[in-house]
Amino acid sequence: MSMKSSRRKFLKKAASAVTGTLVFPYIIPSSSLGLGGETPPSEKILMGVIGTGSQGMSNMRSFMRLKDQVRFVALCDVDAKRLEAAKAVVDKVNRSNDCRIYGDFREFLEKEKLDAVLIAIPDHWHGIIYTAAANKKLDVYGEKPICRTINDGKVIVQAVKKNGIIWQTGSWQRSEANFHRGAELVINGRIGKVKYIEVGLPDGVRGIGTPPVQEVPEGLDWEMWLGPALKVPYRGVCHWNWRWILDYSGGQLTDWAGHHVDIANWGTGLEYTGPVEIEGTGFYPYDGIYNAPVEYDITCKFANGIIMRIANASRLPKGMGTVWYGDLGWIHVDRGNRISASDPKILEETIGENEIHLYKSTDHFQNFIDCVRTRKEAIAPIEPAYRAISTALLGEIAMTTGQKIYWDPEKEEIIGNPNASRLLGRPYRKPWTLPEV
């Protein structure tokens, strides 16, 4: 038995001691885990970060907010400047300067003995790094979308399951009251039988043309940033704006499907399946380096007959968010704690004891930490995240091929279309390969 897994057992024991028998649903108050006062370092969850960009830093601060429960001890990024800035933040909180830094995730994973890792990196890296982290039996808080391609996603899901790690997707909307409430009302039939769902995601962004080739900024390991993606010279588009380029992301569509499509699935019990037919059209930029669709309109059908339309918000009557349409009314949820319904009375309904109670979390980060201790499944586990993004990725394939795609959600295969099937994956540039699970 490795040192790490015995440490995990210790953490679990500590959690059970304070919470007694764990019943679903459960919320463990942070104070009960914190044992009051300053927690000895040995009982804190030791965490590392891969990807200290804007999302990584934001997530890290959210974990730091949970005082005394987490200690960040190691950071990894391909951009030395960002790494230094992140280390300064960590060292200040830790009141020490021993936070270790790495430029290569392989070394990070090899050397560090951690409980959990927070990963916030561009999508084209997800397949390799998520799988490698799971293989190291680290619990992972990983950003959505969990994969750039469906083939990557299948491997990640397998790696998470086989290694028995706790996985939390950064689809934090699940831990927000309005989304939970909307989904719970819908799944308990308060708008009747759901027939149609509309999911509004952001419109695309304005183009920037093609900036000239320029010198790679000091400290940025461009070759490593590209990793498995095709080699291109540096043109100043890297952090954040990678998401408008198809080699790294699918644009707003894939950036956001992990949120509002996930919520749509949550409210209709479609979390562990996928659509059977997918059609879509996209409008792609006509010029310039950004090539992800700026508008997209995808319609898919599930085996139970539910039709889901996913489009950029300006194309939809209710704009952003998830709208479930049932035969008795509709419910619309969106960010900013928004929830509305065809009849306001629907929103006042109570959910009876014997009805379906969806997993409740009021703090996405706390939920992850709790689950790391208790070894219970987190609120945003891997497979629903994979199913949400694969719906969008199938839409991307429909838009690329100009064809209606038939999908077998059980076998996870495209039916009868070898050309479209090739788009389920993106070959990796040598020497990169997906790790074996």
Binding site: T210, Y284, Y290
Partner: protein, 402 residues
């Protein structure tokens, strides 16, 4: 032998005539102009060209007398036309002309109100109803409410104030407000329009009027900070009116008139006004929010030309021939013969020593998913080319070649 050649020549001429006939115009349009606060001499031939490019319009131009001129000779033959394009604001027409126009519209004639034409005839009630909204020439609350959008809703604002305002020409984003109308169906809902004058503070009777698109007028220089209507569909009697405020002509070379979005919506609006339907497909160069698309020449190009142009591609140049190729592939979906025809041309590009490395990279990406066995030998040969190594590996792996 000479006889055979002659016969062949005759046959080919006949074929040529027939293929030409296939596109013969369905609708006759009359552009009325001659007095305008914008340069009608410059804009009129452009409007004619844009409408005739559709292949379904044949346009005549009717020029009014100069101010104070002899109106007796100005006699539009209303009944001959399916569409009247208004590019006029000036002296008030004589009563007979006015009555003729109203009965033309009442009886189902189509009207296209272009840019500054709506400003005409402030005291002619029916004309203002046909235009829906307008500005300038002492129009005010007496002429109807201000029309603009707040969020997703059209606002009819009856507050007092003058009508008509514009700032300096600039690029702005057009937002489609009705995605189901024949004119706007299938278009991107947000797109960048080339440098143009954006009309604001328009007001009018707005009867039977639907706003199809708006544009945000920022507050620079006293702008309204509102989403101002830029395209309207109006019904009047049995007639249909398409009103666009876009298209400031300048001296006729204004980017507004070259904008693929302006051209397309004008063409679609004209067809709808003339017939009630739109048969024109959305062109593949229709702009999106990503940026303005200028159409300096509007000729559709062949696959061969597309490949030839793509072969010159270097990074930083327009990617239009690549996106064009991608669109061709999408359109050919499910037709293996057509796809193979495209694939063969793509392979020719790969084999062409003069084609740029960058163009080959793009072609390899496409072939990686839609290629057949046909392309594989050529791609394998490219393995020796160090500059293409990654893309060749990418393509071969996806194509399932070990």
């Amino acid at each position: 032998m000479k006889r055979v050649l002659n016969i062949l020549l005759i046959i080919s001429i006949i074929l040529l005539i027939f293929t030409d006939c296939k596109k013969s115009p369905h609708y006759r349009a009359l552009i009325i102009t001659g007095q305008n606060s914008t340069d009608w001499v410059a804009s009129t031939p452009v409007l004619k060209q844009i409408l005739e490019k559709t292949g379904i319009f044949e346009c005549s131009i009717l020029i009014s007398p100069t101010p104070g001129g002899e109106w007796d000779k100005f006699r539009p033959a209303w009944d001959k036309y399916n569409l009247v394009v208004l590019n006029y604001n000036g002296e008030k027409w004589p009563e007979t002309i006015r009555n003729g126009f109203i009965s033309y519209v009442n009886n189902g004639g189509g009207v296209l109100v272009y840019h500054s034409a709506s400003i005409a005839f402030p005291d002619w009630k029916e004309y203002n109803e046909i235009c829906g909204i307008s500005g300038w020439d002492n129009r005010s609350e007496k002429d109807g409410p201000y029309i603009y959008f707040r969020g997703n809703r059209m606002v009819l604002d009856s507050s007092a104030g003058p009508a008509g305002w514009h700032g300096e020409p600039r690029e702005f984003e057009v937002r489609i407000r009705n995605t189901e109308h024949p004119v706007t169906r299938g278009l991107p809902v947000r797109w960048m329009h080339a440098k143009d004058l954006l009309y604001a503070r328009l007001r009018g009777p707005a009867k039977n009027m639907e706003v199809l698109a708006t544009a945000y007028c920022d507050t620079t220089g006293g702008g309204t900070g509102r989403d101002e209507p830029v395209m309207m569909a109006i019904t009047y009697g049995k007639g249909r009116v398409f009103h666009t405020t876009l298209g400031f002509p300048g001296d006729g070379t204004s980017p507004a008139l070259q904008c693929a979005g302006f051209i397309t919506t004008l063409q679609r609006g004209a067809e709808w006004a003339a017939s009630g339907k739109v048969t024109q497909p959305v062109p593949r160069d229709f702009p999106t929010v990503s940026g303005v698309v200028l159409r300096t020449e509007m000729k559709p190009i062949t696959l061969k030309e597309e490949i030839e142009n793509l072969a010159k591609y270097e990074i930083g140049m327009s990617t239009r021939y690549y996106t064009g190729l991608q669109d061709r592939i999408k359109k050919a979906a499910g037709d293996p013969d057509k796809l193979l025809e495209i694939e063969k041309m793509m392979v020719k590009l790969l084999e062409n020593d003069k084609a740029t490395i960058e163009s080959k990279k793009l072609v390899l990406r496409e072939l990686s998913w839609m290629g057949t066995d046909y392309c594989i030998p050529t791609i394998k040969k490219l393995q020796e080319n160090a500059e293409l190594k990654d893309e060749v590996d990418f393509a071969l792996e996806r194509l399932g070649v070990k």
